[in-house]
């Protein structure tokens, strides 16, 4: 390594400025997505709210506030020394579990779209503990799998069981809501972290088999609610149910498809303005991009995600700290599978689940979680040795 680079790195580490360690490409891509998301949330809600004599900027304002709070959280996550973060991990995990448990208590948790996933806070705010639990799980198992109590390069069986236990408690709680989309995303992240932790391949294979068999058994044994089965069925045949989930999926596909190459132009989508797709500002935000921005705009969004993920991979690869690498990998998997699940659902590649699209969808909890995840990546980047 050249001395200049060494010196630069030294300078960065020794003189932490307010924006120290912010990867410009990663930051730029996220900032662009946040800007697009703001426009799309506004596009998705303004006409409908105006038509119903409500403040057309209601969602816009709240979305901007969410981004502001999330950015503060991201900044905080970035500048804090992650060794400190590591110390707080058990507390973060504990808070996550408590939140998830609280959601299931009647009158504390509220049900939206069949899943009891929300806790109402004073002032009309709601919090979705599962979003924040993603972070505590990633931190938790990364901590366990990165600490080596022996000379071996690979985690021991004990480490593995501990890690699985740390993951299993929140997963089971989310399963009880039930929120299959989040379970899928967290499970995928857990398997990815375990795979990258250097665990023996047989473990990874075994976990994948358990995941597949578990998913299959769940759909057969009645663990899934009726509405979830319906969602799965309508994924197979979207025309089967014209007003329910199949209707939503069909509408989503039509809305995206009708955008064509260049789209109808922002705020000009008749499908969006007519609000033919439900949950347009949250889970189905990508339909707004598809219709109004066309292939150029929605393709750009996917491209930005690819850039973010590629940057994150290079951060994870470059760091020498096993904990940082596992956390980075976990965040990558979380983002990637959530993006794939959300856009895949919109485009008819995945069954319908209620997960938001990172950095774009309206929703405080997920926005905070995503930006904290982004902050974690920046943190690892800033402290890579």
């Amino acid at each position: 390594m050249s001395s200049i680079a060494e010196r630069q790195r030294f300078r960065r580490a020794s003189r932490p400025s307010l924006f120290a360690g912010f990867d410009p490409i990663l930051t730029g891509a996220v900032a662009l997505l946040l800007a697009m998301g703001t426009a799309l949330v506004y596009a998705a809600t303004r006409d409908w709210y105006a038509a119903n004599h409500l403040d057309p900027q209601y969602y816009l304002k709240r979305h901007i506030i969410n981004i502001a709070i999330g950015s503060l959280l991201a900044w905080g996550t970035t500048v804090i020394d992650y060794r400190l973060l590591r110390a707080y991990t058990p507390i973060a995990w504990g808070l996550g579990v408590i939140g998830l448990a609280a959601v299931l208590i009647p009158h504390v948790g509220s049900t939206v779209n069949g899943a009891q996933a929300w806790i109402a806070l004073p002032g009309g705010f709601q919090i979705q503990p599962a979003e924040l639990a993603k972070i505590s799980i990633i931190l938790g198992i990364s901590m366990i799998l990165s600490e080596r109590g022996h000379d071996s390069d690979e985690p021991t069986t004990r480490d593995m069981l501990q890690a699985l236990a740390v993951a299993a408690v929140p997963i089971l709680l989310i399963l009880a809501q039930p929120d299959m989309g989040t379970v899928f995303i967290i499970s995928a992240s857990v398997v990815t972290i375990i795979a990258v932790s250097g665990s023996p391949t047989r473990w990874v294979v075994a976990l994948l088999i358990i995941a597949v068999v578990g998913g299959f058994a769940a759909s057969k044994s009645g663990v899934l609610n009726e509405y979830q089965i319906k969602r799965l069925q309508s994924f197979v045949d979207p025309n089967a149910d014209t007003q329910g989930t199949g209707y939503q999926l069909r509408q989503a596909r039509i809305t995206v498809g009708s955008g064509g190459l260049i789209g109808t132009g922002l705020f000009n989508g008749p499908q969006t303005n007519g609000r033919f797709v439900p949950e347009q500002q949250t889970d189905f935000i990508f339909t707004v991009a598809g219709e109004e921005l066309g292939f150029l705009g929605s393709g750009l969004i996917i491209l930005l995600y690819i850039i973010i993920l590629m940057r994150a991979f290079s951060i994870a690869r470059r760091t020498n700290d096993p904990f940082g690498r596992l956390v980075g990998t976990g965040v990558i998997a979380w983002f990637a599978f959530q993006i794939f699940e959300n856009i895949g659902m919109t485009l008819g590649l995945m069954p319908m689940t209620g997960v938001p699209l990172p950095f774009l969808s309206y929703g405080g909890s997920s926005m905070f979680a995503n930006l904290i995840g982004f902050g974690l990546l920046q943190n690892i980047h800033a402290r890579q040795r």
């Binding site: 250097g198 499908q271 590649l349």
Partner: protein
């Protein structure tokens, strides 16, 4: 980082890139590959067409007097979008509206349901249009009630009163014209599914029968389309297209409204007279044709109906009455759909046949009381012998036995029951020459072709009925097993495929299985009158745009020439004149100042009426006038009307009286419909306000 970790990270990276690539590919497929398909799908989700039907063109007579026009009605409409937003879905609004209009709530409810909303079998009266257009509850509301609704709009949300165009048949000069004009009605699924390339909209009206359907593509115009973009709650967010409607073109007909009215009255009067004489007189028809062109100047059918009944809102009872046997099936146009044996009017055909067979038209023939044909004696109509007479006289007095003789002789000459391969078939060929088995080609729907009971027809009939007659005892009902019918069945089984002597002689006097429509007979007599040209019958004359431009003129086609020499036609014309001077129609036309030529016909009808009574004879009179320079052919037929002379000939006289301006036994100058004796050739100016020309 150990090797395995590094490898795992790479695998994860490749996996994730693949997932993103899959999204990218799928997005490309949806937006670029299948984009047009989804754009169409999106359009059908978002857009709703509101159709503003075009003003339908007028139907006018040859001098421009309207037979069909558009009236402004006051429609009380209900907007489904608005009433559906009411807490009770509009039930209370519809109930108070029912009270105000004096209607039944159930009817209003039914009228405001989209046909698709109702279960099968309960769709009667449903709204065939879309949810986005106001649904008319009545089209002829009282203006005071309409005012009440408009002034109390808060009490009647979604209810509105608007003027709308309704098709109206104004019955100027008392004309009815139901069968020839037809009527308009709502689109049916079949109309909408048509593949003719015309795009129909559900809320449009379409011609259902008569001229209204025949010339629908001209009369209908093009509707205006307003396309609105709606949201998921069906509220209109914007208007994307708004095209004005193009009014329909006018149809000028060859009809004369005064003569049409006269023909209808004369026919109804003939029916009344026949009934007064004790005949059933269940139906009838009258046709007036221009012999030089085939143009139809009047065409009437009895019984008839009110052509405005549809727009007024036909009740179920009215609809079933139109087709009920008991009421004489008023929906049926007797003039072009009714098939009847032509009886003695057919002797004109037989005259041509005899002339072609070489019989001397100027010779004298014996008219005995009966002619022995094989084992059966065929009676003269009057059942008495009239001695020798000229053929002209024979036609005038309608002697049957002369024709029996000739037909029987010709039948024998053609081989009798063992017909020769090269049989002359003078009678059948003459009938074929008159095209009695061919349609007149009139520009009206559902015309029936006549039936020519020739050798081929007989054979086909036999093949179809052989089984029935040869197994009569098993096939026929008890009531049909009379000795006479059993014998008939036996005969039919043995040689039913052959023309028997009886068939041949019956054919010569227009009895038996040969049947034609009154319109066809008018066409035949027009051809006799004009020197042998068979013209296509034509009601329509021209299609004219609202600005007066002529789009299309209808010119009758020459369909053929009678198989008769000029000498034969001259003889026939003279004989038909003699019928009116000294023959069977002399009484009916006594003192008539215009020379008329014609032939009476009184056809025996087999079978029974619904009440079990034996069917009365069909009364015919076929004619043309003026005899010296024929211009018009007039035919009247009254089913079960008794004698041709007393019922139909008298009716035809009344039509001629109107046509030529006859009062009593004088022609009143200026009273004739066409001052120069011919129907107008110039196209009239068209206006809904054109009045009937009155005689000075």
């Amino acid at each position: 980082m150990n090797q395995r970790s590094r490898l795992s990270l790479l695998v994860v990276q490749i996996l994730i890139i693949s997932l993103m690539a899959a999204l990218f590919g799928r997005l490309f497929y949806l937006q670029i590959g299948a984009g047009p398909k989804y754009r169409d799908a999106a359009l059908s989700i978002q857009s709703r067409d509101v159709i503003n039907p075009a003003t339908r063109g007028l139907i006018v007579d040859s001098s421009g007097v309207p037979l069909a026009l558009n009236k402004v009605g006051l429609a009380i409409t209900i907007d489904r979008i608005t009433i559906d937003k009411q807490p009770d879905k509009g039930v209370s609004v519809m109930k108070s509206l029912a009270l105000l209009l004096g209607l039944n709530y159930g009817d209003i409810f039914q009228k405001t349901r989209l046909c698709g909303e109702l279960p099968k079998g309960k769709k009667a009266g449903c709204w065939t249009g879309s949810r986005y257009q106001p649904i008319p509850i009545t089209k002829e509301a009282d203006p005071n009630i309409a005012l009440q609704i408009v002034e109390n709009s808060d009490r009647y949300p979604g209810v509105d009163a608007t003027p709308i165009a309704i098709r109206n048949y104004p019955a100027i000069a008392g004309v009815n014209g139901a069968h020839v004009l037809g009527y308009v009605g709502p689109m049916t699924e079949e109309n909408l599914a048509n593949t003719s390339g015309v795009k129909y909209f559900r809320s449009e009206a379409i011609g259902k029968t008569g001229l209204e359907i025949q010339y629908d593509k001209y009369l209908r115009g093009a509707p205006g389309i307003r396309t609105v973009i709606v949201d998921r709650k069906e509220s209109i967010t914007r208007i994307s297209q708004n095209t004005k409607s193009t009014p329909g073109d006018h149809l000028v007909t060859n009809l004369d409204i005064r003569l049409q009215a006269s023909a209808e009255n004369a026919l109804a009067d003939a029916v009344r007279r026949a009934r007064a004489s004790g005949y059933k007189a269940d139906s009838g028809a009258a046709v007036v044709m221009d012999v030089r062109s085939g143009r139809i100047i009047a065409i009437a059918s009895y019984p008839t109906y009110d052509p405005n009944a549809w727009e007024k809102g036909l009740t179920v009872k009215q609809a079933s009455d139109l087709f009920s046997e008991k009421n004489g099936v008023p929906a049926l146009s007797r003039a072009l759909q009714g098939l009847f044996a032509p009886a003695s009017t057919f002797k004109s055909v037989s005259t041509v046949a005899a002339a072609n067979a070489g019989y001397d038209l100027n010779a004298t023939y014996d008219c005995p009381a009966q002619v022995q044909v094989g084992t059966r004696a065929f009676q003269n109509f009057e059942s008495k012998a009239q001695g020798r007479m000229s053929l002209k006289k024979a036609i005038a007095v309608s002697c049957d036995t002369i024709w029996y003789r000739i037909a029987f002789d010709e039948w024998l000459r053609d081989g009798g029951l063992r017909p020769k391969a090269n049989a002359n078939d003078y009678f059948y060929n003459a009938a074929r020459g008159f095209q009695i088995n061919v349609k007149t080609g009139i520009d009206l729907p559902s015309e029936s072709a006549g039936r020519l009971a020739d050798r081929q027809w007989r054979k086909d009939w036999y093949d179809a009925n052989k089984d029935f007659y040869c197994n009569y005892k098993d096939r026929a009902t008890k009531a049909q097993q009379t000795p006479f019918l059993l014998e008939l069945a036996r005969e039919n089984c043995i040689d039913g495929d052959k023309i028997r002597a009886g068939d041949a002689v019956n054919f010569s006097i227009g009895q038996g299985d040969t049947v034609i429509t009154p319109l066809k007979l008018a066409q035949m007599y027009a051809a006799i009158a004009n020197g042998g040209t068979i013209w296509q019958a034509l009601v329509g004359k021209a299609i004219v745009k609202t600005d007066g431009t002529v789009i299309k003129t209808m010119t009758p086609e020459k369909l053929g020439t009678l198989p008769a020499t000029p000498a034969t036609l001259k003889f026939l014309q003279g004989a038909l004149r003699e019928v009116v001077i000294s023959g069977t129609a002399a009484g009916s036309f006594s003192g008539f100042p215009v020379s008329v030529s014609g032939k009476t016909g009184t056809a025996e009808v087999f079978g029974k009426n619904l009440n079990g009574s034996k069917k009365d004879n069909t009364s015919w009179f076929a004619s043309f006038a003026p005899s010296e320079k024929p211009r018009y052919a007039v035919v009247m037929m009254v089913s079960q009307g008794g004698f041709g002379a007393s019922t139909s000939a008298v009716g035809v006289r009344k039509i001629y009286e109107t046509l030529f301006g006859v009062k009593g036994s004088k022609v009143i100058p200026g009273l004739a419909l066409f001052p120069d004796g011919k129907p107008p050739t110039k196209l009239p100016k068209i206006s809904p306000a054109t009045k009937v020309k009155k005689a000075p």
